[in-house]
Subunit: 83 residues, 2 copies
């Protein structure tokens, strides 16, 4: 068993109105000193068997096409092999 | 400067239709062996200054009220202090 975590985040140059709303709300709730908030998506994928280099490459391609919009989003893929 | 990452995920007992849709799509794209997919939200909060225990506690309370719906969601809060 392995767990693959894909974090999808808007590219830094793309405005993030949801993050901006959270930033405003944090200030109103009394938490000061926040300089930026970005909101993204996280996918946690449980996979049977080992993640070979080939499967990792396959996941990378799929994540870039299925899980994120490469025009406006970046993603990070982390593989956590189970002990 | 510190970075606070809040990962919000549906509780395990709550159905996740978006995750289920991704799981189906992964299979159709030829990536087999996926046993479960969960989709969540991720907030990346950039904060000035140090995160003291008091501020961390304050963030915990706010995250539980503002960033997640505690009826159906769990959250994890990770503080990454800048070197």
């Amino acid at each position: 068993m392995a767990r693959v975590v894909v974090d999808v985040m808007l590219k830094p140059e793309i405005l993030d109105p949801q993050g901006r709303a959270v930033q405003g709300a944090l200030g109103r709730l009394g938490f000061t000193g926040v300089t930026d908030v970005r909101q993204g998506k996280q996918f946690v994928i449980e996979v049977e068997g080992e993640i070979t280099d080939e499967r990792r490459e396959q996941l990378h391609v799929i994540a870039g096409e299925l899980l994120c919009n490469p025009v406006i989003e970046d993603f990070i893929l982390i593989v956590e092999e189970d002990q």
